[in-house]
Amino acid sequence: MSAAKEDGEAADPVAKAELDEAFEELYRSHLRDVYSYAYYRVGNHHDAEDLTEQAFLQAYRHFERARRESNGRPLRPWLIRIAHNLASNYHRDRARRPEAALDAIEPPSHPHGTEQVVEGREELRLVMDRIQRLSDDRREALIMRFALGMSNREIARALGRTDGATKVLIHRAIKQLEEEMSGT
């Protein structure tokens, strides 16, 4: 594989090879992150695959510039931002909610008794249903935090917000879920 040349950059074969290697590392390290994010945004595997491919193709085109401008900071937020924008376009183009809701995902099994398993599954279904009811930005922040394990700073960079605003966003999302869960 060979990373894209943009604006006549990376003409030096050694620099280009080094860039290719860095891109390969980036995509191997974050394929699961991008795929998970895409899946939770679009709700089905088929579109999540398409979105992941598109995200990496875009990343590939602009990799050198992003790497230069990142000043050594991790590129995961940049990558997730690409996926985030693509997912927004996906929803805008289709002007509809995800085909399969988050609650279509089977809750995981627990190594406990039958009653606890049933109770746990119900609780998971409930929390997935409540996540669906959150505003887009709150839901996206929770996906980044819990599915991808991103820090507040990373989420802030991915969403183009300040660290403080992101902290408040996540806090409010959890608070809203808490209230809705306790009200059931």
């Binding site: 594989m1 060979s2 894209a4 040349k5 995509y27 191997r28 394929l31 699961r32 992150d33 795929y35 998970s36 899946y39 939770y40 595997h45 999540a48 695959e49 992941t52 491919e53 990496f56 193709l57 590939y60 988050l102 809750p107 995981p108 609780e123 998971l124 929390v127 997935m128 996540i131 929770l142 996906i143 935090r145 819990f146 599915a147 991808l148 959890i174 879920l177 808490e178 869960m181 306790s182």
Partner: protein, 108 residues
Amino acid sequence: MSDETRQPHLEALLRDALRPIEPPEDLAGRLESTLTAITEQAAAELSSWAEELSEGELQALRDPRNWVRPVAAVAVGTVAGGALVLVGMRRRRQPTGLRATAENLLRR
């Protein structure tokens, strides 16, 4: 459940509900093939384009002084195209209201 115990429980529940999703096994391979194909295609197009040019033409292309004429031609073409579109639009636009009535009266 108290507030102190509820939040860690909810966060654990969220971690469970939003588990990372493993991508399909063939996705990485497919993605790599697509990227390789794009690079090879770009390289092939570039080399065939370069082969068609003589050394003199390549030298001329590298000289920024020779970029002015094509850029000017594109600019002139764009302006001329825009003007034609404007003229076309004006021709198509039919007067309405008082102005149309006045023009009709004058034509008679």
